[in-house]
Symmetry: C2
Subunit: 280 residues, 2 copies
């Protein structure tokens, strides 16, 4: 990890979680509005692999939704190590119910990605209580299923509706009006300091009473705000956890560097997953 | 919430996340080995609703897997409130690849519940790298899909294989040999004190530096071990979180009751989700 990134071939190759028409596709195009060569990957792990293999310089993956929480496979791939968050992007997510059937009462099946079904859980319980909820590998794939079945609908973006040619039956059906997803731009290196940055770290604590408290004390004593913390299974041992935390500040700032030095000595595992500009 | 449970009609009605042949079905039968009337619910929310409506006295839902983490819809339904954890059960989960096709190289699609696909993520990447991973609403539903397609396989329990009549192609394909799921028995009341109990609580913290640290300090000062902590979106406001924590001890024990009294005054939200015997 060096502070200044090495030159990236132009146009850069950008892997994203496909297929076309997904919210991640929209995020990738917003992150690279000018010329870029986009490569679809079928899974989040595939995006990480494309960068590791050198098939892409950057990757775009969803990491957290404000209603439904972490995208666990992205978080796990980050914890696994080797790649860094270089930028974040927050996109407002508005879900549409799309179907060739214009009658809500005739919808018997609703296809979508499990994340989208979860983000619309209350709406579905209220308006389509008896419909079967069928998971799909992406919102775009769900639209393809809805094309085949006159008693089915899909949940997806307006872009997915347009690409599939299906009409939008209801718009803005997510449970919370303010529904947004954080996307991460992944690369071999993180970003230089801008003055308004965040740092994502993963750490493990010893299995003792107060162990997590002592980590939080170190951060607090160094004047560091924790903007998010979550736990994930370590995938090393059953019922063993790793914490993922977002800290306000860049790893090169003195107070962050000092706190991470202390934590590096105390925690059985500490990994910096990247410093990057805070999204505004 | 009263310490002694009210009488339950015999045989009790037990709602579980169906269909038959899922791991939750196995958990429900282990929790009620004698006479009980089992009711299938299509979703985790459906299990909670069955108890709220009085259609069942108990519910059985998965809450956490040791490899893949929380079952978020169960955690969210608990946080929503009104029902309590009365008992926990940990089941070892061994996944099988089941298919009518005996040639691994001919498998083009693998169906399963997203949790099971995630628990076998590394195995699939190594042995079926080019196969399409297709999410299904349950491992049992996945087996039904595999019945229709000679180039497909499903991931599920040995019971799902038996019920579908499909042969087991590979056994124990989960990424971690020690792979287990915690199930919760949900009811209108939690459990009386046994001397070796756990208490699950949900709480929110004020949006200030060190807020989570101060909660952990209260627990630590009262000699309480935190055996697990995780965060979930509050579903009230975007990027606002609720924490879920497991504490060693029963809510009626003096040190737990005293700590919860302090936290009840300091936290904008504190909810006891149940005290119940620790699984041994």
């Amino acid at each position: 990890m060096t502070p200044s990134p090495s030159p990236i071939p132009q146009p850069p190759r950008v892997a994203f979680l496909g297929p076309s028409g997904t919210f991640t596709d929209m995020a990738a195009r917003e992150l690279f509005p000018r010329v870029a060569e986009f490569v679809q990957a079928p899974t989040i792990e595939g995006v990480f692999d494309a960068i590791r293999r050198g098939a892409a310089a950057y990757g775009v993956v969803p990491i957290e939704n404000s209603t439904e929480g972490s995208i666990t496979s992205a978080v796990d791939a980050l914890i696994e190590g080797g790649l860094f968050i270089r930028r974040e992007l927050v996109l407002e997510i508005s879900h549409c119910l799309i179907s060739m059937n214009a009658q809500l009462t005739q919808i018997q099946r609703v296809y979508s990605h499990p994340q989208a079904l979860a983000q619309c859980r209350d709406w579905l319980a209220e308006h389509l209580a008896t419909a079967e909820l069928v998971p799909a590998s992406s919102t775009a794939a769900a639209a393809q299923e809805a094309l085949k079945d006159s008693h089915a609908a899909a949940i997806g973006s307006r872009l997915a509706a347009e690409l599939s040619g299906l009409p939008v039956l209801c718009d803005g059906i997510q449970d919370l009006a303010e529904n947004a997803t954080r996307f991460a731009l992944i690369a071999l290196e993180d970003a230089p300091r801008t003055g308004d940055d965040k740092t994502t770290v993963a750490f493990a604590v010893r299995d003792s009473r107060g162990a997590l408290r002592r980590v939080l004390e170190v951060l607090d004593e160094h004047g560091i705000s924790l903007t998010r913390i979550e736990s994930r299974p370590s995938r090393q041992k059953a019922w063993d956890y790793v914490f993922l935390a977002d800290l306000a500040g860049h790893r090169e700032e003195h107070h962050i560097a000092a706190a991470l030095l202390v934590l590096g000595e105390r925690c059985p595992m500490l990994r910096i997953l990247g410093s990057y500009p805070r999204f505004r």
